[in-house]
């Protein structure tokens, strides 16, 4: 597409307009909402991971001081979910995880609501919980969802059964033949990762009201339209009866990419006729965090001595917890992450969401890409060791480039990873041998590659041009902290209309004002909302220029919009202000506005390769090359990251400084994941880590200045060739640190996080490894679709 303006006019380090109030403590997040007469709600949650509900008696709680209403399973009979409707709002006949909601209470004060919630009489007959995927997949394992076959299917095409909520498979080419070749070397790797908790500083929170027969939900979410849809579905009301608004969100990282507390507050608002605030306590937030899931991964590869990967078979088990949730969708991504990066002669991949009696998991920045990249890159280094090839040379030989096909047979456009790898080695120098330093520590380095994607899909935008020459951008975009709504979007609109970004007013998300949108996540905002905004601007431009053309007696094609004026091309000062044109337009036609829409272009996959996928091919791949140096103390197992470097495929960097902020922050979250953020599940099925003191996120002493290079020019259908840049910085951090540690200690790494005791175990040869006895080396035996 040719742009009607020089693309560089959209590129600038525009400061954030919301920073000042955030620094002054004036920004009102959902947790800061308060108004006279607002009620406070508290949940009663199950303290049993699995059991049959014998009784929930709210009578004693109802008569407690301040209590205005209590909602229970009777108030929300419907089921919701992604792909399959398997999730009730309140536990119905059985509880399936520790922390599952049983009731919510609205009272005058929070203390009263909590006291009443505790006073509800609950009797549960415990059933032995299934806490691991190995137990869930055991032959005679009891079913966590005995009624799984009767659930409403929201998306057709996946194999399901037993405790497997969803299965996505890829079969391309003949791996059996590849593995049977007599010239190949077989390499097998098993990997295990734990959960990661988002810890957004603002927990999930909502204020709901019921006014004029409609629900007004003011909430801390990334997905206003999902909240609207799911709330309506659960309450059994028309979607049009739900109005969602979103103020500044105090951190999301994917946790808020689903409907969460909103329906509870909505029910209580309708029961009481009052505003109801429901905020997770930090303990609840941690204990029910829709974490990045724990996973078990088996990869087997057949590689020629020259370094061609002729066959690859992989099985990835993703723990979805008690309900399918986001993991059902995320099974899709394994094909593009674990099955990504490299050219594969033939490939079979199974990716399964497995039910357990543990808190449900969810989406977290670059989701399963983070651990699939960890497993794939560790496995790649093990291949290099097995065939005696340099890891950078192997990667350079095998990374996908222009015209190569991916796991599902999609054809990639452009050479991106190859040049990025070259740039890394040119910039940071060739690898030296791992060595022991004079300080006794073991030094290692690794360079890894990663593939992620932009989650495109529907977005809409309206642009109203105001009489004062400003423009109002109306979308459902939410500012979750990444800056997209206050930086790249006003920059795009301003460049299109020839005005300053400060003259672009960005409306906060409001489903009554804006069109539908998939939400803020998956790196999609700049791309999808940006493209819709650009289309809306095109309509505004053409209306504006039609009037200006008459006024200036000049063909439209010879007019340019710049600095708030319409000028005749190459004759600065010849035209007039856009206010004058807007005034004339009002006289002739009325006010000027435009609307725009965007959706996924739908890149094709090879027919018949993929089953159970939500996306068969990725519309906008995003690539990353990471490189790091570590030192490992062999006496303590402590890992220090000495240098960390990122080369990130950004398409075009609209606000380089803001992208730097995302890289610094995303890599730091990745360091936490790689080294010390750990969740353990106890015999009760609850997380041991209940807050900041037990779940350790990085402090300033745990990170370092991240070196970075923004790689521009890779193809993208995003506006001005942009790709989202906020999600992907975390993608290969676990991988790169693990590979560098393996390089340093000379022992393969197969689990994250690399806490000091785990590293010490590897060094001492004590750690038993990850055997994954519940996975067969005969790939088809791990599947539902292909097992005889």
């Amino acid at each position: 597409m040719t742009l009607p303006y020089p693309p560089n006019t959209a590129v600038m380090n525009l400061p954030r307009r919301d920073a000042k109030d955030k620094l002054l403590g004036r920004t009102r997040y959902t947790v800061d909402e308060s108004s006279h007469g607002m009620l406070h709600a508290a949940a009663r949650r199950s303290e049993t991971a699995s059991g049959r509900i014998v009784k929930i008696d709210v009578t004693p709680a109802l008569s407690m001081p301040g209590v205005k209403a209590i909602a229970t399973r009777e108030d929300a009979p419907g089921l919701h979910g992604i792909g399959i409707a398997d999730h009730p709002l309140f536990a119905k006949d059985v509880v399936r995880y520790h922390g599952e909601p049983l009731a919510v209470v609205a009272a005058t004060t929070l203390a009263q609501a909590r006291a009443a919630a505790a006073a509800i009489l609950v009797e549960i007959d415990p059933i032995a919980p299934i806490l691991t995927m190995a137990e869930a997949l055991a032959k005679d394992a009891p079913l966590i969802h005995p009624d799984w076959a009767s659930y409403e299917i929201l998306r057709e095409g996946a194999a399901r059964g037993g405790n497997i909520a969803w299965e996505a498979t890829v079969v391309r080419g003949d791996t059996d033949a590849a593995f049977a070749r007599d010239d190949v070397i077989l390499v097998e790797g098993t990997y295990r990762v734990g959960r990661q908790s988002h810890v957004p500083f603002e927990p999930r929170a909502v204020v709901a009201a019921y006014e004029d027969g409609r629900f007004h939900i003011h909430t801390s979410t990334q997905v206003p339209w999902t909240v609207r849809h799911v709330t309506a579905k659960i309450l059994g009301v028309p979607e049009a009866a739900v109005h969602v608004t979103v103020p500044a969100v105090g951190g999301g990282f994917g946790l808020k990419f689903d409907c969460s507390l909103e329906p509870f507050a909505a029910i209580l608002a309708r029961k009481t006729g009052r505003k109801v605030s429901l905020v997770n306590s930090r303990r609840e937030e941690q204990m029910t965090c829709l974490s990045r899931e724990n996973a078990d991964i088996l990869i087997r590869s057949a590689v020629t001595p020259e370094g061609d990967i002729v066959g690859r078979e992989a099985t990835v088990l993703m723990d979805c917890g008690a309900y399918g949730g986001e993991q059902v969708f995320l099974t899709t991504m394994t094909a593009h992450t674990l099955g990504g990066n490299y050219r594969l002669g033939s490939v079979k991949i199974a990716s399964q969401a497995v039910y357990t009696n543990t808190p449900p998991n969810g989406a977290f920045r670059a989701c399963n890409g983070v651990y699939n990249t960890f497993a794939l890159e560790c496995h790649t280094d093990e291949i290099c060791k097995a065939i005696g090839m340099d890891p950078v040379a192997f990667r350079r030989r095998n990374v996908v480039g222009d015209g190569d096909i991916g796991a599902t047979g999609q054809v990639f456009e452009g050479d991106v990873l190859g040049p990025m790898l070259d740039l890394a080695i040119d910039t940071y120098g060739p690898h030296e041998r791992a060595k022991k330093g004079p300080d006794g520590r073991l030094y290692g380095r690794a360079t890894t590659v990663g593939t992620w994607f932009i989650f495109v899909g529907p977005s809409s935008a309206t642009v109203n041009l105001n009489v004062d020459g400003s423009a109002t951008l109306v979308t459902s975009g939410v500012e979750i902290g990444s800056g997209t709504m206050v930086q790249s979007l006003p920059q795009i609109v301003a460049a299109n209309l020839g005005i300053h970004p400060d003259a672009v007013i960005v409306k906060t998300a409001d489903t009554d004002a804006s069109g539908r949108d998939l939400g803020v996540g998956g790196g999609r905002t700049t791309v999808s909302i940006g493209a819709a905004s650009q289309e809306a601007c095109a309509e505004v431009r053409s209306k504006l220029l039609a009037v200006a053309s008459q006024m200036l007696q000049t063909p439209q094609d010879d007019l340019v919009l710049a600095q708030g004026r319409v000028e005749i091309r190459d004759r600065p000062g010849s035209g007039t202000t856009i206010q004058t044109v807007i005034a004339q337009a009002e006289l002739e036609h009325g006010p000027i506005s435009g609307s725009g829409a965007f959706t996924a272009p739908g890149i094709p996959a090879m027919p018949g390769c993929a089953a159970g996928h939500f996306i068969d091919a990725i519309d906008i791949p995003v690539f990353a090359v990471h490189d790091c140096d570590v030192a490992v103390d062999p006496d303590t197992g402590k890992v220090e990251v000495l240098a960390y470097r990122v080369i990130q495929d950004v398409g075009r960097a609209l606000n380089p400084r803001a992208i730097h902020g995302q890289i610094q922050g995303g890599v730091t979250q990745g360091i936490g994941y790689a080294l010390h953020e750990e969740i353990t599940i106890n015999a009760e099925g609850a997380f041991d880590q209940t807050g900041f003191s037990s779940y350790r996120i990085p402090t300033a002493l745990d990170t370092l200045p991240i070196d970075y290079h923004l790689y521009e020019g890779a193809p993208s259908c995003g506006p001005l060739g942009t790709k989202g840049a906020g999600e992907v910085p975390i993608l290969n951090v676990g991988a790169t640190i693990a590979c560098a540690v393996a390089n340093a200690i000379g022992t393969p790494v197969n689990a994250l996080p690399l806490t000091a005791p785990r590293v010490l175990g590897l060094i001492d040869g004590l750690s038993s490894g990850v055997d994954l006895a519940h996975l067969s080396r005969h790939w088809h035996e791990n599947t539902i679709a292909f097992s005889e």
């Binding site: 380090n13 004036r26 500044a248 610094q664 300033a700 990170t703």
Partner: protein
């Protein structure tokens, strides 16, 4: 119990349980929501206020102990016309993301910079461990603070072409 709290220079009468945390009183009773309730256990620093000029986590501070103390919250530090040097540097260096940690960050770092006008990067990092941030990865905040230092470093070049 009745006591008078001095909050941002104003006397504020308090009748109630002296064991309640200052954070709760600020947020729930006085609607001063700049201090954030994030961890509730003294770990994150998002609830920091200054008590007689010294940063303290308000989530662990019973109001009953504060009679006569000067309490300064983020709302009392400045107004939009007179941002402090630390706030200005944070603004100029575009370091804010979700913003939830920044009220506490501003109050601790303002105090730290006043006591240590020429900090090194390492000193700043140690000083910042009481203020956890989930979004930013800290280093750009440190760059912003180093630009204020009188140690001859001057502004840190932070944007590359």
């Amino acid at each position: 119990m009745v006591l008078t709290l001095m909050i941002n220079g104003d006397p504020v009468p308090y009748h109630g349980d002296p064991r309640r945390s200052l954070l709760e009183v600020l947020r729930d009773d006085l609607h001063l929501t700049g201090a954030k309730d994030v961890c509730g256990e003294g770990f994150c620093g998002a609830c920091i206020v200054q008590i007689d000029g010294v940063p303290k986590v308000s989530c662990l501070l019973p109001v009953g102990r504060l009679a006569g103390a000067e309490i300064t919250t983020i709302e009392g530090v400045s107004n939009s016309e007179t941002l402090t040097a630390v706030q200005k540097a944070f603004l100029e260096y575009d370091v804010v993301q979700c913003g939830m940690c920044f009220p506490g960050m501003v109050l601790s770092m303002t105090h730290f910079m006043a006591e240590n006008p020429s900090p090194t990067r390492a000193e700043l990092k140690s000083a910042m461990t009481g203020n956890i941030c989930r979004c930013t990865g800290y280093e750009r905040i440190i760059d912003a603070l180093l630009s204020l230092g009188s140690n001859g470093l001057g502004p840190v070049e932070e944007v590359r072409p």
